[in-house]
């Protein structure tokens, strides 16, 4: 049986595993993103806390993934095969990457613009939601793309523990000696990462239209005609 035949025959199962994979990835990426926002903003607000916070959380990434998958249930009281266990571990890894991105993103909002937002009378919450968050958007998106790709690849590891995902194609493939299964796992993981990344880029385009270049160059240099109008 050729690899292509194997894949076609097992397509329904591969798609099912893809969905499982996504169900582990998306909640973890979202949770990591949402948790990183306040932490990143805090790091900018309190510069002294920045390194302990950003560096400390970043160190989480140094924990080897497999032991974390095994240790977390002891802390959370979940069982080792529960998807929640995997999502929690993946969230921590995502957070480790995302907090630094978020701190950099909020730090990149220009002081002048922040002051202007204060001066026109935005409340603190309004300023965060309508000024800082959108302006931090491009850098946040860059961080989110890294987290998304990294999470998709990390999910596979949980298959070793028996949590089903595209990683199950590797474990099954190795156990039963089916090369096609391993190939399918690799390809689908890469495809999924690519698709998710493209979706994020598209989302960024929609949500941050001001970053697109001007449709045409801003007309002639200002003074004459515009100024004369007002002088009348």
């Amino acid at each position: 049986m050729t690899a292509v035949q194997w894949i076609l025959e097992n397509l329904p199962q591969i798609l099912e595993l893809t969905v499982d994979h996504l169900l582990l990835t998306v909640p973890a990426v979202l949770a990591a993103f949402l948790l990183a926002l306040p932490l990143g903003r805090l790091a900018v607000r309190l510069p002294r806390l920045r390194e302990p916070l950003v560096g400390g959380i970043g160190l989480l990434y140094a924990i080897p993934s497999l032991p974390l998958f095994i240790v977390l249930p002891l802390i959370l009281g979940t069982s080792i095969r529960e998807p929640l266990n995997a999502v929690a571990a993946l969230t921590l890894f995502g957070l480790a990457l995302m907090v630094r991105s978020a701190a950099d993103a909020f730090g990149s909002v220009e002081e002048d613009v922040r002051l202007a937002a204060v001066a026109v009378g935005h409340s603190a919450a309004g300023r965060f939601l309508t000024v800082e968050l959108p302006l931090a958007g491009p850098a946040l998106l860059a961080g989110l793309r890294v987290v998304s790709v990294s999470t998709i690849s990390l999910v596979s590891v949980s298959a070793v523990l028996g949590i089903t995902s595209l990683g199950s194609l590797f474990t099954d493939g190795f156990e039963r000696g089916i090369v096609a299964s391993i190939v399918a796992g690799i390809v689908m993981t890469a495809v999924l990462a690519l698709v998710l990344d493209l979706l994020l880029v598209a989302l960024g385009r929609v949500l941050m239209p001001w970053r697109r270049p001007a449709p045409r160059r801003a007309g002639s240099r200002e003074p004459a005609q515009v100024g004369e109008r007002g002088a009348a």
């Binding site: 026109v120 309004g126 000024v131 001007a214």
Partner: protein, 282 residues
């Protein structure tokens, strides 16, 4: 009317940005705070809308201590224009101008209509309404900044070196327009600058500040030029360097040619209108 009553601002590390500063700004007039960088003029300006809280003394607007007004509400009632415009890079021009009316609860359509009116008032082409600030020239951005500050028709306008970052020609143009606007709108304006010519051109009252936010002299432009209080003011105005010393010599065709101290021609005085109204600042 805005009153600064013996305000000081001392930071926790002990540096005094402002020391015991008092000033009355009459309604419907323009007061210029003039000084070099680090003299505390921006600090003083920001005390009016509570972006900076004085460590001593009080700022009162129409006899109400601003410290008793919620900062957010206070800021929404006062126009603020800053250097580099402070426009929101992610908002279209019309949305940015409509910010304060929106914050004060105006419906979207109403705020937009008001924003379009304001663009007209400050001399901006309505076609620019849907642009983002990155697509505007420096002068256009400053006009948008002024329009945003005026959008909800505040009584008070705070301007922090609003024309400091544009090239000299555009700056003169914007100054002229501000004077025209002020003739119509009659706001109470506090204007911060380090540019003496700008101060003479715009101020009804000028406050010359020494480092540490202490007043060197307060007066009308004319009072300052005619009777500078001391060497510091004299030097600041450029009176000592002969920068404002003018000479007049008869012109063959009638009238007088006016030159600076070094003999470079500046303009012509006709016999008919050779009065003192020909200002030194222009």
């Amino acid at each position: 009317m805005i009153e600064f009553r013996q305000v000081s601002k001392t930071y926790s590390d002990g540096t005094a940005a402002v020391e015991d500063f008092s000033l009355t700004v009459s309604s419907h007039t323009t007061t210029v705070l003039l000084g070099s960088s680090g003299c505390g003029k921006t600090t003083l300006l920001r005390m009016v809308n509570r972006m900076v809280e004085p460590t001593a003394g009080s700022v009162r607007i129409d006899d109400v201590d601003v410290a008793t007004v919620r900062p957010v509400a206070l800021r929404r009632s006062i126009g603020y224009v800053m250097q580099n415009s402070g426009l929101m890079p992610h908002r279209r021009v019309v949305e940015d101008i409509a910010t304060v009316p929106r914050l004060n609860g105006a419906p979207r359509a109403e705020a937009r209509r008001r924003a379009m009116e304001l663009m007209e008032v400050v001399g901006l082409d309505p076609q620019l309404a849907r642009r983002h600030p990155g697509q505007l020239s420096g002068g256009q951005q400053q006009r948008v900044g002024v329009a945003r500050a005026l959008a909800d028709d505040p009584n008070i306008l705070l301007m922090d070196e609003p024309f400091g970052a544009v090239d000299p020609l555009v700056r003169l143009e914007l100054q002229r327009e501000l004077r025209r606007l002020q003739d119509d709108l009659r706001k109470t304006i506090v204007f911060v600058t380090h540019d003496i010519d700008e101060a003479l051109a715009l101020g009804d009252q000028i406050v010359v500040l020494r480092p540490g936010g202490r007043t060197a002299q307060t007066g009308t432009p004319r009072e300052l030029v005619e009777a500078p209080a001391d060497d510091f003011v004299s030097r600041f105005l450029g009176l000592d360097a002969g920068r404002r010393k003018l000479r007049a010599a008869p012109r063959p065709g009638g009238g007088q040619v006016v030159t600076d101290d070094a003999g470079r021609p500046l303009g012509v005085l006709d016999d008919a209108d050779g009065g003192p109204s020909a200002g030194a600042g222009e």
